[in-house]
Symmetry: C2
Subunit: 361 residues, 2 copies
C-alpha cells in the first residue's frame, strides 16, 4: 500500500493506494465520529462494490445506509443532489454521520457537495472507483454540481477525511474511461513533472494494459503532484489554476456537445492539444513538443481533436468558465513540457486559430 | 457610527452600526475586488431601500445588478435560491462579483449560501434591514436554506466581508418583527450578559418605542456578545451552541405550525420560556427568575407560551434538530440569568413537563 499525505493543516488527510483497500474496514473505522455511515454510489458501481464495502463495515458494527443514484454526468444536478438530502433527512442522519462516496468523479463531486452543505458540513470519505477520480477529483476538496448554463458552477471546497484508491476497482472500468483518466495523468507530466512525462512515454502501454504496478505508480505520482499544488493553494487563488490545463477548452466541448457526450478526460485531452497549439503560436513550444504531446495522447487512446462546433461557440462557452476574471479569458498554457504558465494575453485571433487547428474533420 | 470587529483571522470583518449607513458608498467601495455587485433583496424591502443603495453605488462607478425575490420564510428554499443562480449565470457574474444581501434574515441566509456556493465562493456583504438580522443572522457566517423536513438543514459557514446595520431601516419594520428581533437581544442577556439583561429590563420601553440611541446600544451589545462567541467557535463545535437557547423548542414550533406562521423570534421567545421552565425543574432557576424572564418577553411584546401542538409532536420535531448528537437531544438551559449551560441529561418526562407548562390555552 502506498500512502500520501495532503498537507492542509487541520484539514490534512491521507490518500491510500493499493489493491483491495475497499475491503479493509480497519482503514475507515478509526475516522468515524459515531459508528454510522451512508454509502452513496451509482447504479453501475453499486452492484460491483457496494455490497462488499457495506458488508465489512456492518461486520465491524457500523450502521450503514445506502443510496444508489443514476449513473452519469447528466445527473450531477440539483434534483439528484436533493435525493441525497431527502434520504439523509428521512433517515435522521446527524452531523456526526460520515458520508462515503463510492464511484467516479460525478459521485465524488456530488457526495462531497452534499457533505459540505448537509447540516452545514458532515465528514466524508472518498472511495474512487475510476482512474479519473483516483488521480484527480478525489484530491483537493473541490465539490460541485452543474448548472444548466455551466459545469461545476455550484459547489464548495470541502476536504475528505480519507481517500481509498483501490486499484482492483479499475479492472471493471471500460477502456474509454480508463483513457479519460489517463488524460489527467498526462496533464501532471505536462504542467510540472517532465520526468513523469518521460516515464509515461515509456510506460503508456503498461498503463493501457492495466498493469497493477504501473497503475499504482502513476496514481501515486499524479496524486503527489496534485497534493503539492493543492497544499500551496487550497482555494484556487493562484498556482492551483495550472491544474486546469485543457479544461477551459474542454468545458466548452463538454457543454457544447451536451454533458455526458464527451467524457471529461476526453474533452481535457482535446483541450490540452488546443492549449499546446496556442503555446506553439506564442513561441513557447516547438512543433516537436506538440508532436510528443499528440503521440502520448494517441497512445492512451484519447482524442487529439475537438468536435466541429463553430469557433464562435467555443469562445462563447469558454467565456462562461469560472477562470474568467474581469471579463478576460485566462488560459493555462505550456512554456515547455513540464512547465505551465497562466496566460491572459493571448489575442482572440490566436485562440481562434488554435481551436481551428484542432477541430475534427 | 459604532464599529465592532468579528475576529476570525483572515476571515475577520467589521460590523458598522449607525443611521443612514446604507447610503454611504464609501464604506463598501474599498472592499470590492472588481467594481461589480449584485444586490439581492425581497419584494417588501426593495421598494424602500434598493434604489438608494444601488444609486449611490452606481454614482460611484459600480456596475449594479438587482435581484428581487418574494418575501418570507417559505421562500427560503431551493427553487428561490436557484433563481439567484440562474440570474447570476445569465448575467455572467464572475468569482470576483460581490453579492449584497439587503433584507432580513431570510435574505441574509439565502444570499450568504448563494455566495458560499456560487462558483465555490464569492464575496458578500450584509445590509440587514430587520432587528433580528442586525443582531443575529448577519453575525457569524451561518448561511442556509430550509429542507421540507427541517429548517436550515442545507447550508454552509461563509463569512461576509462587511455588515452595515443601518438603524434607519428599522423605522419601517412592523411592530411584530421588531419584537421578534428583541427576542434574540434578550437571549444574549440570558445566556452570558447579566448586566445587559438588567439594562434591558430598564430600557425595554425605549426599544419598543424605537429610540435610536437605545437601539444602537442594544445592537452593538448583542453583536459584541455574538462576535465573541463566534470568534471562540466558528463552526459550532462547542460553546457556540449556547446561542441556540430556545431554538430547539422554537424550531419545533416553526416547523409544527408551518414555516412563516410564527416568526422565528416569536418561536424563540416561547422556546426560551420552555427552556427556563426546564431549568427551574432542574433546580437551576427559581420561580422569581422565570417570572423576570417572562416579564421582559411580555414587555417586548413577545409570546411566552407555545402553540397547542401535541407534546409528542414537539418531541418528534425537536429530534430533527441539528443539535441532536448520537440520537440524544442536547438543550441549552440556564444556570442563572446570564449563564447558559448545555444539557444532555434532562429526562424525557421533564422535557415534556416543561413544554406542557408553557402550552397555550
Amino acid at each position: 500500500m502506498r500512502t500520501l499525505n495532503v498537507a492542509l493543516g487541520e484539514r490534512s488527510y491521507p490518500i491510500l493506494i493499493g489493491a483491495g483497500l475497499r475491503q479493509e474496514a480497519g482503514l475507515i473505522l478509526p475516522l468515524l465520529k459515531t459508528p454510522r455511515v451512508v454509502i452513496i454510489s451509482n447504479e453501475t458501481v453499486a452492484p460491483l462494490y457496494l455490497g462488499g464495502l457495506a458488508g465489512v463495515l456492518r461486520a465491524a458494527g457500523v450502521e450503514v445506509g445506502e443510496i444508489v443514484l443514476p449513473d452519469g454526468e447528466s445527473y450531477k444536478d440539483w434534483p439528484t443532489l436533493n435525493r441525497i438530502f431527502d434520504e439523509l433527512m428521512a433517515a435522521r442522519c446527524e452531523r456526526s454521520t460520515t458520508l462515503i462516496a463510492l464511484g467516479g468523479g460525478v459521485i465524488g463531486d456530488m457526495v462531497g457537495f452534499a457533505a459540505a452543505t448537509f447540516q452545514r458540513g458532515v465528514p466524508f470519505i472518498q472511495v474512487p472507483t475510476t482512474l479519473l477520480a483516483q488521480v484527480d477529483s478525489s484530491v483537493g476538496g473541490k465539490t460541485a454540481i452543474n448548472h444548466p448554463l455551466g459545469k461545476n458552477m455550484i459547489g464548495a471546497f470541502h476536504q475528505p477525511r480519507l481517500v481509498l484508491a483501490d486499484i482492483e476497482t479499475l479492472s471493471t472500468l471500460p477502456a474509454r474511461e480508463l483513457a479519460a483518466g489517463l488524460a489527467e495523468v498526462i496533464k501532471y507530466g505536462l504542467i510540472r513533472d517532465a520526468a513523469f512525462f518521460d516515464w509515461l512515454e515509456a510506460n503508456m502501454g503498461r498503463l493501457v494494459a492495466r498493469d497493477g504496478e504501473a497503475l499504482a505508480y502513476a496514481i501515486e505520482r499524479s496524486c503527489a503532484n496534485k497534493a503539492e499544488i493543492v497544499a500551496a493553494d487550497e482555494t484556487e487563488q493562484g498556482v492551483r489554476a495550472i491544474l486546469n490545463l485543457g479544461h477551459t477548452f474542454g468545458h466548452a466541448i463538454e457543454a457544447g456537445m451536451g454533458y455526458g457526450e464527451w467524457l471529461h478526460g476526453e474533452a481535457v485531452a482535446a483541450g490540452a492539444m488546443m492549449a499546446a497549439e496556442l503555446s506553439r503560436m506564442r513561441g513557447w513550444l516547438d512543433a516537436a513538443d506538440v508532436a510528443r504531446i499528440e503521440a502520448i495522447h494517441r497512445a492512451a487512446g484519447l482524442p487529439v481533436r475537438g468536435p466541429e462546433l463553430p469557433v464562435d461557440r467555443y469562445l462563447q462557452l469558454m467565456a462562461h468558465d469560472k477562470k474568467v476574471e474581469a471579463g478576460r479569458l485566462r488560459l493555462v498554457l505550456l512554456e515547455g513540457i513540464g512547465s505551465a504558465v497562466i496566460d491572459g494575453d493571448s489575442p482572440r485571433e490566436s485562440i481562434e486559430a488554435a481551436i481551428r487547428e484542432r477541430l475534427d474533420g
